[in-house]
């Protein structure tokens, strides 16, 4: 085990995969000479040269699509899109091409492509630079979407993504880059398509992914200490495929669930989770599935407004208490009806 940041875990994984497989190359804006907008690719140009660490023009559709074509011929390109907001410029290449080519051509060619991109708000970047639109990609069959919340998961899931033969959107988060954790030294891989119960518990199932999985883990610990609550935490890790059995199995034991998500509530990831729980654990639910999500506004610049729009620790704690109150009320012995 080595202690390192989420950023270092990604960088080291890129390096080790590039050393392992000559077909792995990096493409993106400012990843070489500038060493990455968020310094993920620091040192890699010097180590691997411009053929394998390729600076691109500001042309998301062009270079993401070029990576699709390179992948069709068997390379394993890892594209960095500076933030997930800019992936919208490449939407046609991701949704209409990367995700379709394997199926649309009858399985004759695969697209072993990884798109690394960070989401995240809360940095006063305003409406166009603070979105969490991973849902757009998680909606599409043919895509795989993973969202690690810890440095160890970042390493394991990026390894799996690069070795996978399908297009994988690897969701990072600005707020996670400097977070630190223990990372196993050898090769590790997590199966794409599986969630993790990161903290077992009996009272309530708390579900998050990427940054919100880290928040969920921390809040569960705090509530254990402060209120004696025994909360089970699920880190989705994979948004497509979605590990429905793990969610349902948990709620069948706890009887209630809260989802915390950085995207908007309406049609969001939490909506899919709530529907899944309703389908698979209907008879076990003692309270409605509660979602804590971003306010439905274009995220404002002013700190006061931005803070109000984003899910806070307090929002989450309140949602947990309200859900547990509803559960307690429902579980009261019922007297005779009047």
């Amino acid at each position: 085990m080595t202690s390192m940041t989420y950023r270092e875990a990604i960088r080291q994984t890129l390096r080790s995969e590039m050393n392992r497989d000559n077909d792995v190359l990096l493409l993106g804006e400012e990843i070489g000479v500038f060493e990455g907008s968020y310094k993920i690719t620091q040192g890699l140009l010097a180590e691997f040269g411009p053929k394998r660490v390729r600076d691109t023009p500001i042309a998301e559709e062009g270079f993401t699509g070029a990576a699709v074509g390179a992948a069709m011929l068997g390379l394993r390109p890892v594209v960095e899109i500076m933030t997930i907001n800019f992936s919208l410029l490449a939407l046609d290449q991701i949704v209409n091409h990367a995700a379709k080519i394997y199926g649309m051509f009858g399985g004759q060619t695969s697209v072993p492509l990884v798109i690394r991109t960070p989401g995240g708000g809360g940095q006063q970047l305003g409406a166009t630079h603070s979105q969490n639109i991973e849902l757009y990609y998680a909606f599409v069959p043919g895509m795989k979407v993973v969202a690690p919340s810890t440095p160890a998961d970042a390493k394991a899931l990026l390894t799996a993504a690069i070795r996978d033969n399908d297009p994988v959107l690897f969701l990072e988060n600005l707020a996670l880059y400097n977070t630190r954790g223990e990372v196993p030294d050898g090769e590790i891989e997590i199966e794409i398509g599986r969630a993790a119960v990161t903290r077992p518990g009996r009272d309530l199932t708390l579900i998050g992914y990427s940054r919100t999985a880290a928040v969920a883990a921390r809040i569960a610990e705090e509530l254990s200490t402060s209120a004696g609550l025994d909360i089970e935490v699920i880190d989705l890790r994979s948004l497509r495929p979605l590990d429905r059995p793990t969610l349902v199995e948990s709620v069948r034991r706890t009887g209630c669930a809260v989802v915390v998500e950085d995207d908007w509530l309406t049609y969001g990831i939490g909506a899919e989770i709530a529907a899944t729980i309703s389908d698979g654990a209907f008879d076990h639910l003692d309270a409605p599935v509660r979602r804590v999500a971003m306010a439905e506004v274009p995220l404002p610049y002013a700190k006061s407004l931005e803070t109000a729009a984003l899910p806070s620790d307090a929002d989450l704690v309140e949602a947990i208490h309200q859900t547990l109150d509803a559960v307690a009320h429902r579980r009261l012995p019922q007297g005779p009806r009047p």
């Binding site: 699509g65 394997y102 051509f105 009858g106 695969s110 996978d164 199966e191």
Partner: protein
């Protein structure tokens, strides 16, 4: 390759592309070989008869979806394909039946794809717009205008990455030159010295929109100048001129100099089979018909003494026969089994991949009450 700075006066002159020609200018066709000319003519007739038969199958509802035909573009089709080595890659847009034939795929497999059958080139998953054959190196027909350009550029990047000798030919219509992917792709190819030939198959109409209505620079090949890329415009109704121009372009691309070729022809019918093309003037329709490349090439071959009435008839009969056999092959090919519906979502299998049919519940249904003593219970 290396990251590069391109000082002025380097290989790509500031003055613009090395080759800026207008239709039929400057490149006299080499002494044509009669056998080769006849081979091109046979291909053109095959494409013509295939497309006519495809249109009929479409109107008989044997073919679904959209159906865009190469009618009027036969000279461009066979001229371009004659310039490629079998190992070269081809990306096209959705008007690609003729190119699939030209790349050596059997008419039966192309027709079977139109019929949505198991033996189709894309095994019934693609249809008219999405034909793919790994062995023939046809890396796809693409239905989204401009969508094929970035992947084609990336395929050329992969060739360069591995120091390969193949090239990529990437076809598009005239309407594609105004979409962002066109500019982003040409810029990347020129910046990275990629082995690719972009071909604008200019049939002068994007659905009902003329080139002049859509393009501020209607001489489309001139756009290459923005990327210091070599370019040429050629008469797309002349198969030999197209072949020779394409050979120049391909040879340039093999030397890691991307090329933009524009072949100008006409569209004999509507945008797709269902389009009666009422927006076209009588004069325009007449002009396109009188420039019919199949008729024109036949006349030229007769003039040169390479084609007599008998041979012309036998070529036509052979093409009709081949197309009939293609239809028979398509008709006898099985419909894909429903059990294969989930076979091509992912190349690497992963847990929790959904294999649910539309009416199926996510989880096994809950037990229901015994219906015996319940009136109105659901059966």
């Amino acid at each position: 390759m290396a990251t590069r700075t391109r000082p002025s006066g380097a290989s790509k002159s500031v003055a613009g592309p090395r080759r800026q020609a207008t239709a039929q200018a400057g490149h006299p066709t080499a002494d044509p070989d009669p056998a080769e000319m006849l081979a091109l003519y046979r291909q053109m007739v095959l494409v013509r008869r295939f497309e006519e038969r495809a249109a009929r199958a479409y109107t008989q509802a044997q073919v679904g979806g959209y159906c865009h035909l190469n009618l009027g573009e036969e000279a461009t089709v066979v001229g371009l394909m004659a310039a490629l080595e079998p190992t070269d890659y081809l990306f096209t847009n959705y008007r690609e039946h003729g190119y699939a034939l030209g790349k050596g795929i059997s008419p039966g497999r192309v027709m079977a794809e139109l019929y949505g059958r198991q033996d189709g080139v894309s095994h019934g998953w693609g249809g008219s717009m999405h034909m793919f054959d790994a062995r023939a190196r046809l890396l796809g027909g693409y239905g989204i205008v401009g969508g094929q350009l970035p992947p084609a550029t990336g395929a050329a990047l992969a060739i360069d990455y591995r120091d390969g000798t193949e090239i990529v030919m990437c076809l598009m219509g005239d309407g594609t030159t105004n979409i962002g992917a066109f500019h982003e792709s040409l810029n990347l190819a020129a910046l990275w010295d990629l082995p690719i030939v972009y071909v604008i198959v200019n049939n002068q109409l994007g659905m009902g929109t003329t080139v002049e209505m859509a393009s501020a620079e209607p001489e489309l090949h001139r756009r290459a100048a923005s990327y210091r890329m070599a370019a040429e415009r050629v008469d797309g109704n002349d198969p030999l001129a197209v072949r020779d121009a394409a050979r120049r372009a391909v040879s340039c691309a093999r030397d890691r100099r991307p090329f933009l070729l524009e072949a100008v022809s006409g569209r004999l019918k509507g945008h797709s089979v269902v389009d009666p093309a009422k927006y076209r003037s009588a004069d325009d329709t007449l002009a396109v018909r009188s420039a019919d490349p199949v008729t024109a090439f036949a006349a030229r071959l007769r003039e040169l003494g390479h084609l007599d009435e008998e041979t012309e008839a036998s070529i036509d009969t052979a093409a009709l026969q081949e197309v009939s056999e293609a239809v028979a092959f398509a008709e006898q090919s099985p419909h894909p089994e429903v059990s294969t519906l989930f076979d091509h979502t992912y190349a690497t299998a992963v847990p929790n991949d959904s294999r649910r049919l539309p009416g199926a519940p996510l989880f096994p249904p809950l037990p229901t009450a015994a219906p015996s003593n319940v009136t109105g219970g659901r059966r």
